[in-house]
Amino acid sequence: MILRLAAASLVARGLTVGMTVLAIGLSVALFLGVEKVRTGAKASFADTISGTDLIVGARSGSVQLLLYSVFRIGNATNNVTWESYQDLASRPEIDWIVPISLGDSHRQFRVMGTTSAFFEHYMYRQGRSLGFGEGVVMDDLFDTVIGHDVAQSLGYGVGDPIVVAHGLASFTEHKDQPFQVSGILEKTGTPVDRTVIVSMEAIEAIHVDWQRGARIPGQTTPVDQIRQMDLTPKAITAALIGVESPLQTFSLQRAINEYPEEPLLAILPGVALQELWGIVGIAETALLAVSVMVVVTALIGMMATIFSSLNERRREMAIFRAMGASPMAILGLLILEAILTAAAGAVLGLGLLYLGLFIAQPIIDSAFGLFLPIDPPAIREALVLLAVVAAGAIVSMIPALRAYRLSLADGMVVRS
């Protein structure tokens, strides 16, 4: 009955209470949304590469190597010579090794030269392999496999011709050697979606008439002639390595880092991802802090509302007192109301979160490659909601204590 009366009292003050509930709801939705994006981003970040034990590149920073080899962000400062690569590949600890050659682009997408082993060994999201949505692995020298986003945004299908540009954001195109799409990969949510994949030899082939980044004037080697040439790469950008036994990872890493012929760097993808997330994570923490502050603000708003309602409700409290309610019961009543308000806000926030997710999920997925799963609320979310309700109860103690004192002093008489 008291619960019903408290609820009725809240409903009677519908507008102010509604606004408070709305404020709490929005803040909770914001907080949960930030949490969702944060965990989603972290997960999809960590899911970018798996199953690879080491990444090798020219000596630079580990984050930089990770960024260009996996995320296709930034550029390699140096290449790894083909000799060093072969030297590495012949080491007994190595189970598999996949070379990567970067530096060209197609429209806004990066072109990556590699071998067919890439499709076998590159894994994402805890050991998932790349799958073909359409077509097959490149077979011919001028075949290419494109990522899902590439096909989507450029409207390519299997069999379409594409022209690769030299360098990045460059308009000098390798016009002489048009490629043909042989396969389109399924969506992965990783940078592979935005990559045009060709063979290592193809990378060599399109640079036949080029030297030091510029076209050799007047020289155009016909395609037929290129096909006859030795297209063994002279250098690679990076290589992905899987070792025979996990125990050998560290000794191999050490050996590569101390490779005498050339300055190389081997990194553990997991460690480098952690390191990178540590940098990105500051923004994430700041975002989280801001959304916590928003929740706190909403709760303080509720406290202010309770405070301002106290005066007009002294009559109501006097009635309760006259009926035999102790000042403690009045304290409890106000806290109960605050709990109901905060709980309504929390539930509203949850509703808004799912509504927002429902609307924004496809947009975020296509715009940022970030997939936010719509799961039923987990324990973590339940805890957040519970914390909001508890915080609401605690915050309401301050005006409730004032009501307690007022009702002690007023007794049944309301003096105003």
Binding site: L5, A8, R321, A322, G324
Partner: protein, 232 residues
């Protein structure tokens, strides 16, 4: 002052905390069980303070307040609240009801705090309906929201609430001052009927001496209460 007094005050002094300029002294006042007493006094005569003392919402600084044979000073704050709920039904001047609750909610509210009164009702809801009927309220009124009732109806609901579960004492603080004359008479008739039925003790406060003829006894505030005001 006889031992049979259901309300007895002796040598009571009280000063509102934080208001040094106002204090009251009640040398002696008592109401016998089953008696109906009208307290006459203008506003500022200490009526509200006296009622608060009897109800135990405030404690006397000195002297004794005995209600139903219990010295209120011997009770803790919590048991005084419980004691009030059990012993006393209260009707205010106006705004008696929680406007957002139904009439039934309002009438049944004191039972929530008074288990003994609740125990006396075999079917509290039926009892509430019966009281409403006896007080001349329209049939089915218990379902209505309190705020939708007229002032006169609200006052009657307040009487029903004060009487449910038959507490021995009914205290009414200017219950008729917000009603017009015919409504006043009507209201008092109905209230007195119920007080007689339940054999309750009635202590009513008013500034209107014309009401006095219905009561067993009329007491002027100035006869029992001394008020001290310090000029600040």
């Amino acid at each position: 002052m006889g031992d049979s007094g259901i309300i007895e005050l002796k040598d009571v002094r009280f000063r509102w905390p934080g208001r040094t300029s106002f204090s009251i002294a009640v040398p002696e006042f008592s109401v016998a069980s089953g008696e109906t007493v009208l307290l006459l006094g203008e506003s500022g005569s200490g009526k509200s303070t006296l009622l608060s003392l009897i109800c135990g919402t405030v404690l006397a600084d000195s002297g004794v307040v005995v209600v139903g044979g219990t010295d209120l000073k011997t009770l803790s704050g919590w048991s005084r609240d419980r004691f009030r709920a059990e012993q006393i039904g209260v009707v205010f001047q106006q705004f008696n009801l929680l406007p957002f609750g139904s009439v039934a909610d309002n009438i049944l509210l004191p039972l929530r705090f008074a288990p003994d009164r609740k125990g006396r009702c075999t079917d509290a809801r039926r009892e509430a309906e019966g009281l409403c009927r006896a007080l001349g309220l329209p049939e089915g009124v218990v379902e209505s929201k309190a705020a939708t009732l007229s002032v006169g109806q609200q006052q009657r609901v307040a009487v029903a609430r004060a009487l449910i579960g038959q507490p021995p004492i009914l205290i009414a603080d200017e219950p008729t001052s917000s009603l017009d004359e015919t409504a006043q008479a009507n209201f008092l008739d109905l209230m007195f009927d119920q007080v007689k039925v339940q054999a309750s003790t009635l202590l009513m406060v008013s500034h209107d001496p014309r009401l006095g003829e219905r009561f067993d006894r009329v007491v002027r505030m100035s006869e029992i209460v001394t008020i001290e005001r310090e000029v600040a």
